[in-house]
Symmetry: D2
Subunit: 258 residues, 4 copies
């Protein structure tokens, strides 16, 4: 059995980056790693001993944002995509903010609520998991707008009968030309798992492309479109529109509409 | 200076009812009471020593729901209205649920988010205060519908630039005739303080009416319309429509439209 | 075959009341009646020749609001309920307005949009049919609030893929205490036909009750809850909450919650 | 007095393109032109006799989409920007559709309502003006998505107390991965005139840039971002994100964020 792509869709865990590659081995040997880190480490060994492969980190744990793991995969001739698959309300928020930026609207505040009835929301009831989610979600505001707009963006609760179709509610208040205040309200019902499924299939294919090109380490152009916190560290979040253009360029695909 | 009505609008506090009147005096002497309980006790003394008066408890602390205080006010020839002034989204939710009940809709779930930028929301960031709010808010669902519909109803966050005009977002999912699923989404922008101001002015006037009638203790007909958790304990929450009819009857006012 | 209740669910037609009973026979003989009027006339004959029966007019044509038909049914020992079955957004609007009225909110404006993909919406594309709908819908505003609030309430369009589950969007702007402006936005997805089906089943049962009691002509207490334009003419629209209480009284049913 | 830029913000008028430049002069002489066409013609004469200038057509009349006028301005050494300034809900819809397209969502239907209380909405009460608006608004759907998604996109009504701050309500239904149906609802309150004011100021500056570069006729890169129906004819509508990139390129401006 020869596997090209491994996918990590574990429940959100509380974890900090390891940082220096030199510490990775030691931490693993001492058992001082989270499940995701152990998994990412094991896939690196697979790359070394079996064949080059891809680790898709679809959860908030910093793997593609951890210099230790990026360097580790580069050395093992593997690829890591991450972190935190960007489906649902976050990419929509990113693109709405870009829409505001391009019109020179001054965003005053953003509140975004999420509630669902699947196990992902159940797990987020634990405050320390919620903190991880918040980190990957709210960095987009300053990166895209260029200033810090007060915001409250986080998964909010668990309500069993909603099932997998989450309820998202959002307000964006902004100043239009001449300091007139406009308000934008979004209500969305989004099937959570299917959105992620489609994203993962794309990432599997793109992972194989990266392997074919021998592009080891991580690929920002892929992460920027598909991830909430695209690695490597140091890159700003960008709007998904911008990321899409960059992704097509990287993939060598021409937009059929133009 | 002769005062008829005292109003308690302190910040939400974590507190349980005292229960038996016999314990009240002792708890006060030992300093084992919250600020609201101390305030309510003092107004009782005022009733005894100066003149009959009204204590309007506009916050979630159980005063009009505490048998100890109801009996205490009856003995002191005072009146207590409470608990937790019902403005904003809660009375609207109550009336929407009544609307569903009267059409025999089966409510599947209710989620209601609240976010604002005033000090009331700031205080609710503290989890133990939030718990008190949740208690007074979600009891309405079962009381009005007659069954327990899963719900997530609570103040959600603090976002300073929203100021006093809070943002409310709500979903109600229900089964229509033949088990077809309908969805109702509410988005509201409500000025928080003015709504309470109007309510308090009504309560001051109704308090004076109660004094004139020598109706001591508490008055369910008043509490039912104006409070989230109307005292005395043992009464169910009712829709505000129903409560309005009862209030007019108690006040001896005829609806000018009919 | 002995039928008790006839239901008229024809497509909306453009029609004015006949007014005087004396003109009804003549108009029928000359063929100068709409389909609904002809149907209502025929059911009257059935009452006379076969047995007492009920005509439920679930569409906007004025039958229970036409003095000619009310008198006609009284003479024939029949019952007419009408006009225009009140499902979907209209009763919700009525109850929201009542909610505003009871809090002394000053409603500034109401806009309500409706779009669906069933044949009812398709028919309303014809402007003259739309006018009939508008008539039965917007009278509620002034009747409930006691003043004329500017409003735009009417079915708006046809969009085939929405099917039977219509999309309703509404804004209500109002002044709170101290003239602060609040806004309420409603978005609803409502299965159109099932809501009407449930209503018609109720009306069939209530129709039989009216026959058993020999209450001929029309019954305001039934119409007020179930109809957009409850007959007989001269009665104001009331909130559905108020109508519900009156309906239970008429039916001799006690609310099991109290 | 030396004017560089003329702006047309007349009320929407019913008009077809002239088509061939050869017909323009004749139509003008016979008075067989609308106010906008006459105005555009006069500015062309100004270009010839006084100095090169820009005609910004901010209304739906086809000027920058009329081959006759494009050629006319090229010959007179003038510039025409148009048609129909793109503010409010239309560019937002364009960008939301692009968001769907980039994720391979299948859009099932779009309904978008607009209601306001300014004279622009008052004028659109006249059906023939409404038709013109519809034309410039709904072409975006097919152009961006690449297929014809059923839609109902048009200004809906006039409600005086809303004033200049219009109310927009929108639904977009689409299939996610695996044919699961998601729904997106947008409610917006947008100050109508300020949005246009800011857009016109941009266009004045860009007009001056075009004159400095002696780029006569029309400029698609400018029209694509600022106009609902960007001229010249034959170009597809594109998302505003895409248009923004092209605009910066044309203007020689680097996005300061990258």
């Amino acid at each position: 059995m020869k596997i090209d792509v491994f996918i990590n869709v574990m429940t959100t865990e509380l974890v900090e980056p390891i940082g220096r590659l030199g510490n990775l081995e030691k931490r693993v040997m001492e058992g001082d790693v989270t499940a995701s880190q152990a998994y990412a480490y094991a896939v690196g060994l697979y790359c070394e001993k079996v064949r080059s492969a891809v680790f898709v980190n679809a959860i908030p744990s910093p793997i593609a944002n951890d210099p230790a793991f990026i360097e580790y995969y580069r050395q093992k001739k593997g690829v890591v995509f991450g972190d935190d698959g960007s489906t649902g309300a976050t990419p929509l928020t990113a693109d709405l903010l870009e829409h505001m930026y391009e019109r020179n609207r001054r965003v005053l505040d953003i509140a975004q609520f999420n509630i669902g009835g699947n196990t992902d929301f159940l797990a987020l009831n634990l405050p320390e998991r919620n903190i991880m989610k918040k980190k990957t979600k709210s960095s987009i505001v300053e990166d895209i707008l260029g200033y810090e707009a007060p915001n409250y963006i986080r998964p909010t609760g668990y309500l069993e009968p909603l099932g997998d179709k989450k309820f998202v509610a959002m307000i964006i208040e902004y100043l239009s030309f001449g300091e007139f205040k406009d308000e934008l309200y979004i209500v969305a019902r989004i099937n959570d798992s299917p959105a992620l499924a489609g994203l993962l299939i794309d990432l599997v294919r793109l992972g194989r492309m990266a392997l074919d090109r021998e592009t080891y380490g991580t690929v920002y152009e892929v992460n920027a479109f598909y991830m909430k916190k695209p690695g490597p560290p140091g890159f700003k979040a960008v709007s998904k529109y911008y990321a899409y253009t960059k992704l097509l360029e990287w993939a060598g695909v021409k937009d059929p509409r133009f």
